[in-house]
């Protein structure tokens, strides 16, 4: 009964699929240029059942998540220090601006030369892409904490780590979560780029080999899987946000109030 609510979306999807199918069937384009939805469905069934898709998707997911974690674990502390100490920001800015001006993706071949075609170089590429937006968001999140809240913690004689725990972390969290949402999708891009250049597994690798064999239906399947992965990561971050940031979300009011204890 609840599917009514999604009627516009379902209709739009159906019309899109029909159009695709129509064009693929009657345009006279060869299959290796535009496979029909039916071809893609059969291909998807095959790679899912044979376990091929899982193997490659898992490889990519590992790179993406490890890259995210690595990028975060450098960006968060560094961003915090830069927000707190002007000297550090001044000293590091030239490097950061330069590193941001250089497209990280173009750095990928170099990283693969240095660190080989294995997992580590992919993780590094993801981490590099994730690093900058997370760093900026950390600096902004910490800097924008109202000085009155800082005064409060000073009056209460909080140590630096108490200030971090009771004030800076929760106060910066909304901005950090915003950065993480962007970072999660960027990390997927990083992994795919790395796999395009040199790899023996991963969805990027799958796309590359399928292209070489003119197996366009498989390219479509891999693209779909990548999209799904990026969306799931995004959704996971949103879920985390909803839990951690319930205090600023009116919609979640009822679920949050815990009485007694």
């Amino acid at each position: 009964m609840r599917w009514h609510r999604f009627l516009p979306e379902i209709l739009a999807l159906g019309v899109g699929l029909l159009l695709w199918w129509g064009v693929a069937e009657w345009s006279g384009l060869p299959r290796f240029i535009l496979p029909s939805p039916v071809d893609v469905y059969h291909k998807a069934r095959y790679v899912i059942l044979s376990g091929l898709l899982w193997k490659h998707a898992w490889a990519t997911l590992v790179e993406v998540v490890l890259g995210l974690l690595l990028g975060l674990s450098v960006a968060l502390p560094l961003g915090y220090l830069m927000a707190r100490f002007w000297v550090l920001e001044r000293a590091l800015s030239p490097y950061l601006v330069a590193s941001q001006a250089m497209p990280v993706v173009a750095l990928a071949p170099l990283l693969i030369i240095w660190f080989g075609p294995g997992l580590f170089s992919k993780v590094l590429i993801c981490a590099l892409i994730v690093f900058f937006p997370m760093l900026i968001n950390t600096v902004v999140g910490i800097r924008n904490i109202p000085s009155e809240w800082r005064d409060l913690l000073r009056v209460l004689h909080a140590s630096w780590w108490q200030t971090l725990w009771y004030l800076e972390w929760p106060a910066a969290l909304p901005v950090l979560a915003g950065g993480l949402r962007i970072a999660a999708t960027l990390s997927v891009i990083g992994a795919v780029v790395g796999e395009f250049i040199a790899a023996d597994r991963g969805l990027g690798f799958l796309i590359n080999t399928a292209r070489g064999r003119y197996d366009t239906a498989l390219v479509f399947v891999a693209l779909g899987a990548l999209t799904l992965m990026a969306l799931s990561l995004y959704a996971a971050v949103r879920l985390l946000e909803a839990r951690l940031l319930a205090w600023q979300n009116h919609a979640l009011e009822g679920t949050r109030v815990h009485r007694g204890g």
């Binding site: 809240w149 409060l152 009056v155 209460l156 009771y166 929760p170 106060a171 205090w247 600023q248 815990h258």
Partner: protein, 259 residues
């Protein structure tokens, strides 16, 4: 800064205190040559026109701002940084929005390493004291201005400071609640021996509560009047309708208005 603080009974000793904010170029003078003392257990009210520097004075006395000139001594020692014994209630409640009422009140205790159980018990006492039972788990965004301000007061009282600095704590309250809060504050003051310095805009509030009233001039704030309030305690409602009360109001008003 010379570091001579007289050993004496004054808990707070302010000597030739001047303060300027420095935003880039010119110093912006806010406090000018203030001299006064607050004895331990005293109750001082500070009055002055808006923008004259009252909140700035409290920030200095809380150890948040170093004096530009002159000296502030707390308990016979130069005041250089915030002290654990000093409580400050900010002009705008300044609650942390991700913490519930109860959690905002337990914050000072958590920072002090008090156990969770004891912190909650003490916070609940404070909630009752400021009349907010039933709102323990409410978030600040769902409180009215007056309720938020009472939470801020509870947060400052919960760790039993020796000196309590209050920045217009009762301004957002209605007359009735405000007078109830006066009673509560006086009760706490009597029972704990806490020293109170309170900024207010209300002459009545100052005269009903305080031992002494300081009147500041427009910015830069100088001391215009240091008035001892002669009413005996406990004070009754009636004092407000005595000729003496009227006379004191007249003197304060004159001090504020005199060019």
């Amino acid at each position: 800064m010379s570091a001579v603080c007289p050993a004496g009974k004054a808990l707070l000793w302010v000597h030739d205190l001047s303060l300027a904010y420095r935003n880039g170029g010119q110093p912006f003078w806010v406090l000018q040559d203030l001299n006064f003392q607050v004895p331990e257990g005293g109750f001082l009210a500070v009055l002055g026109p808006s923008g004259c520097g009252k909140s700035t004075l409290l920030r200095v006395l809380a150890g948040l701002l170093p004096p530009t000139r002159g000296q502030v001594c707390y308990a016979s020692r130069p005041l250089a940084a915030p002290q654990p014994e000093i409580g400050l209630v900010f002009q705008h409640a300044n609650l942390l929005p991700w913490r519930t009422v109860l959690q905002n009140i337990t914050l000072p205790l958590e920072i002090r390493g008090v156990t969770r159980r004891e912190a909650e018990a003490r916070a609940r006492e404070m909630v009752a004291l400021v009349g907010l039972e039933g709102f323990e788990h409410t978030l600040p965004r769902d409180l009215s201005g007056g309720m938020a301000q009472r939470v801020a007061l509870a947060r400052a009282l919960v760790y039993r400071p020796r000196l309590l600095l209050l920045d217009e704590p009762f301004s957002p309250l209605d007359t009735l609640t405000r007078e109830q809060m006066w009673e509560e504050l006086l009760r706490i003051w009597r029972h704990t021996g806490v020293t109170i310095l309170m900024v207010t805009h209300s002459m009545t509030e100052a005269l009903v509560l305080a031992d002494r009233v300081l009147v500041l001039s427009p910015r830069p704030a100088r001391l215009r009047l240091d008035l001892t309030v002669p009413f005996p305690r406990p004070r009754t409602e009636e004092i407000r309708f005595t000729p003496l009360f009227g006379e004191l109001v007249r003197r304060i008003r004159e001090a504020i208005l005199s060019g």
